[in-house]
Symmetry: C2
Subunit: 308 residues, 2 copies
Amino acid sequence: MGGDFAPAAVVEGVLLAKEWIDANTRVVLYGHRDALAAEFDRLGGRIDDFEVVHCTEVIDMHDHPVKAVSTKTDSSITVGFQHLAQGKIDGYASAGNTGAMMAATMGMIKAVPGILRPGIAAYVPTGEKGYNLLLDVGLNSDCKPEVLVQYALLGSLYAQFIFGIEKPRVGLLNIGAEPEKGNLLTKQTHELMRASTDFNFIGNVEGGEVISNQRTDVIVCDGFVGNVVLKEAEALYVLTRERGIKDPVLDRFNFENYGGTPVLGVNAPVIIGHGISTGRAINQMIHQTANVIRTQLCDKFKRAFANG
Amino acid sequence: MGGDFAPAAVVEGVLLAKEWIDANTRVVLYGHRDALAAEFDRLGGRIDDFEVVHCTEVIDMHDHPVKAVSTKTDSSITVGFQHLAQGKIDGYASAGNTGAMMAATMGMIKAVPGILRPGIAAYVPTGEKGYNLLLDVGLNSDCKPEVLVQYALLGSLYAQFIFGIEKPRVGLLNIGAEPEKGNLLTKQTHELMRASTDFNFIGNVEGGEVISNQRTDVIVCDGFVGNVVLKEAEALYVLTRERGIKDPVLDRFNFENYGGTPVLGVNAPVIIGHGISTGRAINQMIHQTANVIRTQLCDKFKRAFANG
């Protein structure tokens, strides 16, 4: 039921996903059965092809996140996260209220032991192919150096198992290429990252490189900077659309290509979708969630952080 | 002698400036007379149309900024700033070593009394016309809320007198529109800005709005975030060029249109040019410097901050 175009976009998305889903994958829909059935009818799909968990309540964009999760006990977010916590499902994705998703994640799924602060990541395309995984993009707007160092490992593991890159190259977003450049946070972080053997640190990258460089796979920054940078990249795409520009490289900035924003460092796969997710974006998000489940990424996190 | 294409680009720039300069404006060139004369010859211009202060030394991009200013006493930067401090010239612009420019500015020109930290500002275009003045774009990477509040007033005065906007609209770069959103810095800054009557604060703006919104004239952020945002916007322009896209709105992202980066909050006009400034950029920078002189912007700063 989540997102600006729900439940229409969600049903469109799962019908697209039906094309590629194999027999080992189950898509479970959380929402009001009647509302979902009406969309399936409209789109000529069969609701019986999917499991539906009937939920009578909806957490909308105006609800207070933390309160809503605990009071709207029969909402698709609350029930879905309960099922995820209980192991009835293996991953949860939604384009619904981001704050409620995060409240449910932190309250019911919880951080992997040893992880100071989970983060959220986004894909930023770079040229004709490839992208940078940028994190954090808004969960933690004030970070300590130790948190950024953990983000480097989280992002590196994501790139390794989801992108299939053997030794992902990790960059630190900064205001100069030289190690001594930066603010207090990035100067300290640079030193810690350089000393770490947990990931392949290639040094500082500058603001322009987020959307252009081919020398990193993961770029780490605090959630304030990451959020600003991501929204600027999104605005870039909107601007080219408004100008009627069609270009394969610039079209790659359409977030619909990538699915949602994975929450990294929690005990089960959670993917947060853009509020304005369309059916195409929902389909990508299902694909992404299935990948995170299949690669057992959360287990990799647990193992990597088990030794502190 | 400053910049990657000096002195050729500088001479090209002053020859372009000659077209519009009036009898009340003097352009004084600091540099090696022979090197300048050779460029004038090459371009078919007359060096005698300009005043030349012969300098035998050059601070290049590899020099240590602070050291170079004090040891290369006959460099164009050191001599130029001495003349500015002595009132022999009214403003100084260069595309040379930025660190040396700032060292000379802080050492010889100094901050206006009452100003905690001077800042540097950049123009970011928004759509078909207009731009945001973004500051700080890299001078102070760790800012206190009180410094950002001063930037709001500095930017507002610049927009008022240089852009001719009666009541410039000031936004705070943040990760949400609501006043309570942000990191520790922006939350505190938002409260202080809202309480101030020195400028027209319109609230928070998000990352995408830097390059798209028409509801602000000035956007304030710390120097780390501003530098990253500016470099991303510059990379956007490079990307569209690489893709062979010609579009009047996207072409406005070419920094050459705007001249240089003014240093705001110091006792005399200083404009820092991009290292890769071309003749066209140098011409714009001369124009910009003349405007800052003519509008007596530094006096406005002094008056605005005289009462603490």
